[in-house]
Each structure stands twice: as C-alpha cells, then as structure tokens.
C-alpha cells in the first residue's frame, strides 16, 4: 500500500538512482563501443558489385595494360614481386628474395613454397620460367606477342624447384619493376598452351590469385569467387589468407550516367571511370572518390617533326607558349587532375620539376611565329609560302574528355592564328593516319607505368614512337630522327645503377621539353567512386584496383 512506504533517507535515495544510472551508462557505452570496434576489423563475406565501362578483351597477362583487362587480371593472378604504391619500392611476393648481378643481365629469384594455381598445379620454378620465356620472347605459333615491359630477354634457367634465373642479352635494369607490373601476372602452364584468342574467355585463365573466375557472360558480366586456400599475399601485408569478400561481380554498363546513378542508388558498390564533371555528385552524397595517379607520362600532345609545318622548333615552341594548360584543367577537370609540370607525373620515379619550361605566353608565341616567317592570311590563319598553318589531331578515346581538351586547345591556338582540326575518326582511318606524319602532325600521348622505362615506351622508335622517327613503326617518315634522344632512351633501359637511371630520365625530360616535342597538359589519374561501406580498396602503382583487402561493412 502506497501509504505504508518505508521512510528512506535522501542519501539512500540518490545512491540507488546513481547506481542505476551508472549501470545504464555502462551498458550504453558497451553497446556503442562494440559496433565501433567491429567497424575497424574487417568482416568476411559479401559480394562486391563493380561496374566497368568496357568489357575485357584478352586476359593474356601482358595485355593487362588495357584497364578493363588489368582490373580482372589483378585479382586472379599474382606476380613475382609487389611494387609498393606509396614508396614505389619493390617488395617480395611470390618471390621471397632475389639477386641481380652487377650489370643487370642476370636475375635470380627464390620462390616462396606452397603456392599453387587454382587448378592445383604448383607455382614452381619451371612454371615461372615458362611464363617469362613467353612474356619475353612471345610465341609466334600461338600468336602471343612479346610483353612491352621486358627488354633484351635471352633465356631462363631452372636452378632447382624454387629457384629460377633469367638471363638477358644486354643490361635490363627495368626488369625487376617489370616483374611487379600487371603484365607479369603468373598463369598456369595449361593456360599458356591455348591459342592467344582463346584467352579472351576468362574462365580459361588459371592464376594463383585470391580470386578465381566462376562464370562469364561475354561482354556483359563476369563473376569471381574467393579462393578458400589462398595464403600468399604480398610479403609486407598483414593480411595473408583468403580475401575478405566472398565474390566480385563485374558488370559492364557502357553508359556513364547509368554507372553513377546505380552507385548512388545502391545498386553497385564500386565504379571506375567517373568523369571530373560527375565528381560533385559523388562527394555530395558522401561517397568515396579515389583518384590514384598513373605515374607515367602525363596526358599531353606530341608533335611529329617530320611534318614540315611543325619541323621548325620555333613553331613548336610558339604552340607550347600558346597552350594555357591551367585553363584546360580549371575548365574541364577537378583537383584530381593536377596540371602537368614535366613530361612525367610528379609522382613518377625520376620526375624533375620543369614548370619553368611550361609557360603560357600568347604575345611571345605570336612574336615567335612571326619570326619564323608566318604571317596572318585573309582568314586570320597564319600562312607562309602559300601554305596555311593548319594542323590535325585525332581524338584519343581512352583519355578522359579528350575531345573537349583538344577543342579547347584549338580555341587557344586560334588566338595566335593556328588552326587545329580535331577529328574523331573511325578506328580504321585513325590507325592508318596516325602512322603518317603528314596527316597527323599532332597526336595525343599518354602512358602509365611506374618505372623510368615508361619514358622510353612513349618516345623510342621501336616502342610507341610518338614522334614518328625514321626506323620506327611508320613507313611514311621522310627523314626525322633524333639520335641524341634515342641514345638517352636506350640508356635509360640499360643503365643498371638506379640513381644514374633517374638522372638520365631528368635529361630526357629536359631534351623533350627543350625541343618542344611535347606539350604536357595534366597528370591523368584513374578515377573510381565507392560506396561508404566499402573499405580497404587499394590500387597498384598504376591505378588498377585490388580487391584483396576489401571488406564491406553493411
């Protein structure tokens, strides 16, 4: 009965309440801190939905340069070494340790034991030797091309079950980094026995990676599942066992607005190739924007000096002065696309800040062109000896907003009286015309690779030959050749001393810019967007995604 409540002192009254309150607070604190703790620790399970813009074409590891190919290869294959994306140091992975001889013609790798391909066959010295024999020399009867990153390869030697040696005809200092690139993923012997074209079928690629191909609908969808017995992540990773995710589904919606909308509406988890103008949508919705640098030659335009219109260095210099790269970056891009300050990215090995060579000065440009003998014609376009300064460039589809960039450049050049025709072109015409300096005096140039060799990849006549030199890939070149440049390029690929290589890289950058062969515009990233519950998304040195450490907190 209420009236018969026992009298209780004030102290006792409060003590009871305080105790209850303290107990409640403790319970609350625990219940709040437990989820916080859980968020920090990776959770196993879940399937990631990843949206790509294009389907993969061929999964022969050296074809991994193409981003859709690399995005798949990076999950299903492992490499001998791992390149730390922050420091660019080479760390052990499938190879535990290695020795390089003094002039970089012999590399001996000691392999980790217990590594197997997903079909059970061991990753031993014999298989690794076979892989590199094919990457280094190609396999003409099965139509396998040679890997772009391996220079001067001679042969391999199997010393014992876990030791393999590679021998080169000439010093090959870039080889160590070459064992870490996407193009050097290790695949099984059975895979390498198939004709090149059959490697377009992802289910036929057997690697040793943390994921395996479960099924594929060509051109539309690819399903990977985690490999249960995976136990050999890169040596310096804490996480060595199987991937946290149960699986990854790659879906290919070609339309950009569908990809972004799907991510923001919760139908997808990670997307690649998000354009600068779509970034505000992603950040506004508190999603994660990741734009790893590709660390290679910057997004730029290069000249073909064999064409008489741009053979004069004054003309090239004037065009470089007439290009306002800051305006391009401010108008079309975001802070993830920094303005270029040299031939290669500021995050690349060997980068030297040459921003003093990359100036915008319209008046000086006009003066130089006048000095070179070009006078404005009746239509405002400069002319000399009856020829107009009328240049052509083809749009490069893989580069972001390339048509916009080129058209802005065309507008800037028009202000000094130079006409630039920006052509979209169809694949056939473009491929043919790109080999003819008379048809394409200007070209778009960009390549990503985190090694000083990248600069040779772009300019050397035997590689991409952007400048179209005599002795290169084109039969249409009349006379242009730059022996000094080529000597430097060959030196960088064969100098065993690391510091000397970086010094040579600086010299090459200086030469390219002093000769005004190239106008670097911006450092091209690979732009990804991810949902807030996706953790652990990492990128290898050139911006390809790695899903090994990814976990989902939903």
């Amino acid at each position: 009965m209420a009236k018969e409540r026992l009298p209780v002192s004030l102290k006792q009254f409060f003590r009871k309440r305080v105790r209850t309150a303290a107990a409640l607070a403790a319970v609350l604190a625990l219940s709040v801190s437990v989820p916080v703790l859980a968020q920090d620790a990776p959770v196993q399970g879940g399937t990631l939905i990843y949206l790509e813009q294009q389907a993969h074409t061929n999964l022969y590891p050296p074809s991994g340069g193409f981003y859709p190919n690399g995005g798949v290869l990076n999950q299903i294959t492992d490499k001998l070494t791992y390149q730390n994306p922050e420091t660019l140091e080479i760390e052990p992975w499938i190879a535990e340790s290695w020795e390089v001889n003094a002039d970089a013609t012999e590399y001996t790798f000691k392999l980790r034991s217990g590594v197997t391909f997903s079909d059970g066959t061991p990753v031993d010295a014999a298989t690794v030797a076979l892989n590199y024999d094919i990457f280094g020399l190609g396999k003409p009867n099965l139509k396998y091309p040679v890997s772009e990153v391996i220079n001067n390869y001679d042969h391999s030697e199997v010393i014992d079950e876990h030791t393999v040696k590679f021998v080169f005809k000439r010093p090959s200092p870039g080889f160590l980094q070459g064992t870490a690139v996407i193009g050097s993923g290790l695949v099984s012997t059975a895979t390498l026995a198939l004709p090149f074209d059959e490697l377009g079928d992802a289910t036929k690629i057997i690697g040793s990676g943390p994921f395996v191909v479960a099924s594929e609908t060509l051109g539309k969808e690819l399903k990977l599942t985690a490999r249960e017995d995976y136990n050999w992540g890169p040596a310096k990773f804490e996480h060595q066992g199987r991937a946290y995710l149960d699986g990854i589904t790659y879906i290919i919606p070609p339309e950009a607005s569908v990809r972004i909308g799907a991510l923001l509406a919760g139908q997808a988890d990670v997307i690649r190739q998000i354009q600068a103008y779509d970034e505000p949508q992603v950040t506004a919705a508190a999603f994660t924007l990741l734009a790893p640098n590709t660390r290679g030659v910057n997004n730029s335009i290069a000249f073909r000096p064999d064409n008489p219109l741009v053979a004069d260095i004054k003309v090239r210099q004037a065009l470089s002065l007439a290009t306002n790269t800051q305006e391009i970056v401010d108008t079309l891009f975001s802070e993830n696309y920094p303005r270029a300050t040299s031939v290669i990215s500021s995050k690349a090995a060997g980068y030297v800040d040459y921003s003093d060579k990359l100036v915008f000065d319209q008046e000086k440009a006009k003066a130089l062109l006048a000095e070179a003998g070009w006078t404005p014609g009746p239509d405002g376009i400069l002319a000399k000896d009856g020829q107009k300064l009328d240049l052509t460039v083809y749009v490069s589809l893989p580069q972001p907003q390339n048509e916009g960039v080129l058209q802005l450049i065309a507008q800037q050049w028009a202000q000094v009286g130079v006409k630039l025709n920006v052509l979209p072109g169809d694949a056939g015409t473009r491929t043919l015309d790109q080999l003819d300096p008379l048809k394409t005096p200007v070209t778009v140039a960009m390549v990503g690779r985190a090694d000083p060799d990248v600069i040779k990849s772009g300019f050397h006549p035997k590689n991409r030959d952007w400048l179209l030199q005599k002795g290169g890939s084109s039969q249409n070149v009349q006379s242009f050749v730059d022996d000094d440049l080529n000597t430097l390029l060959e030196a960088i690929a064969s100098e065993p001393d690391h510091d000397k290589r970086l010094a040579i890289s600086g010299e090459i950058q200086a030469r390219v810019l002093d000769q005004y062969y190239q106008i670097p515009i911006f450092e091209e990233p690979q732009a990804f967007a991810a949902a807030p519950y996706v953790h652990g998304l990492e990128f290898e040195a050139v911006g390809r995604p790695s899903f090994y450490n990814v976990w989902l907190s939903r």
């Binding site: 074809s63 607005s257 997808a268 056939g428 043919l432």
Partner: protein, 314 residues
Amino acid sequence: MTRYVIGRIAQAALVVWAAFTVSFLLLQALPGDAIMIKFLNPELGLGPDEVQALREAYGVDQPLLVQYLQALGNFLTGDFGYSVQAGVPVSPRLWVNLPATLRLATLGLAFAAVLAVALAFLSTLSPFVWLRAVIQAAPGLFVSIPVFWLGIMLIQIFSFRLKWISVINPGEFEGLILPVLTLAVPISAPLAQILMRNIDEVLTQPFVAVARAKGASPAGVLWRHVAKNALLPTMTMAGVLFGELLAGAVITETVFGLSGIGSLTEQSVRFQDSSVIQAVVVFSAVCFVGVNLIVDLLYPVFDPRLRKQKVAAA
C-alpha cells in the same frame, strides 16, 4: 499458289545475296581493317613485321575475288568466319546475342502495337475535338523523342529515384521492362499514324454507314467493322518495324547494357570487324525479307477477298 510462294522465296534469296555482295565490297573499300586496328595498338607494342605475319596468318591479303568466293562459300555452309576483335568465331557470338534481341523485338513490337491501337481507338472514339487533336499529335511527339534520352530518363526515374526496378543485375523479366518501354514509344508512332489514317479512310466507306444505320454504337462500329479492314496496311508496317528491331536496337542496348545484335553491330563497326559486320548484314537481310514474306503470305489469311482472287487465278 505454290508457284507464287516459290517465286517470292527466290526473290528473297536474291535480295540477301545482293546485300551480302554490296556489304562485302563496301567493307573492302574502307581504309584499314580489323587486323590492323587490333594489332597496331601501341599497347601491344608489335613491330610492322609481326603485324604483317599476322595478316598473312589471317589471310587478309589475298586477292579480292578469292576472298569473296571464300566468304560466300563459307556463308552458304553456315560458317560466318572469325571475329578478329573478339578472337572468337562469329557464329557463336551471333547465336548468343540473338535471344536478347528476339525478346526485346517481340515484346517491343507487342507493346508498340498495344500503344498504337490504344491511341488510334482513343482518337476515333474521343468525344472532344481538342482531345482528338492532342492524341493525333502524340505519334509526332513519340517519334521525335531521342531514344537515348528516353532510356536514361526512364532509368533515372524508375530505377534510381523510385527504386522500383533494378538496372544492375536485374532478373530476366525485370531487366526487360524499361528497355521494352524505351523501344515501344518511338516504334508505336508510325503504327499509330497508319492505323489512324486507315481507320479514318474506312469510316468513310458505305458499309460503315449501313452498320450505323442498323444501330451499332461508335465503339461497336470501330471494333467489329472498321478495325479488321484498317489492319492490313498496319500489318505491313509492323512487319517492316519488326525486321528493323531484329537488326538490333543499338542505342537501347547500349544504354541498358544488354548484349544483343545491336551492341554486336556497334562494337563490330567501331573496330571495323568485317566478318561480324557481314554476318549481321546478312542476318538482318534474312530477317527483313523473311518477315515481309510471312506478312505477304498472311494477307490472304486476314482478308478473304484476297483469298478468293487466288482461287480464281488458280
């Protein structure tokens, strides 16, 4: 009757052969070819000698007539050649992509027909003049809407805002709703216009006046008497549209990420993959003439007057 049918089939075969030959000649006349595009890619880093060796391996440098006869012979035996870009034979790619296009085409046409009939009937039966005018303007609007814009708008509204339909990894039928709608709208426009015009024409015929005099309601007149007569020219148009749809709705397939004949066409044109383009051209030609042949043969089935003529001729 059989002579007529055989004659029509022979005509159809001639059309298909002509399509094959003309497309072969046009493709050969284009600069560059698929091998060059694929293997002169700087990322592969092949030298000109290696590319030349590949060209010989694929047999693209043989004389034109030899290539033509080889291709013709192969097509007749069902071997459509090899897709250089994808690195797989063409036939499997075609058959794999066909079901998606068939589903899309059939459902798209069905929806378009429903929409067209609805528009035509509404416009005929509408009590207000202004309403009739609005409905008659609808086909013009429908055909002017850009297909890609419509597709993207539908996705934005129904999938991303309202979240009724999933575009990524949808179920079989869920994934068809929006593309079918996107296709049906512009396809319904010509159908609706022809139907409306024919209905108006038939309504002026004497037997309609007789039906009205006998006391039939406007709806009754329309449904029982006019519709069947107005249907025939619409059927021809529907046949033509179905043939077009079978050739692949490129834009719709790209927006919705479906892999049908349309996206196959777009990819092969982009990379100048001649074998695939030829196969698609021949396939489209076969579909077109096939559908038109069927429509022609169905005419007597729908219209008894034509049946009697045939009997009299035979």
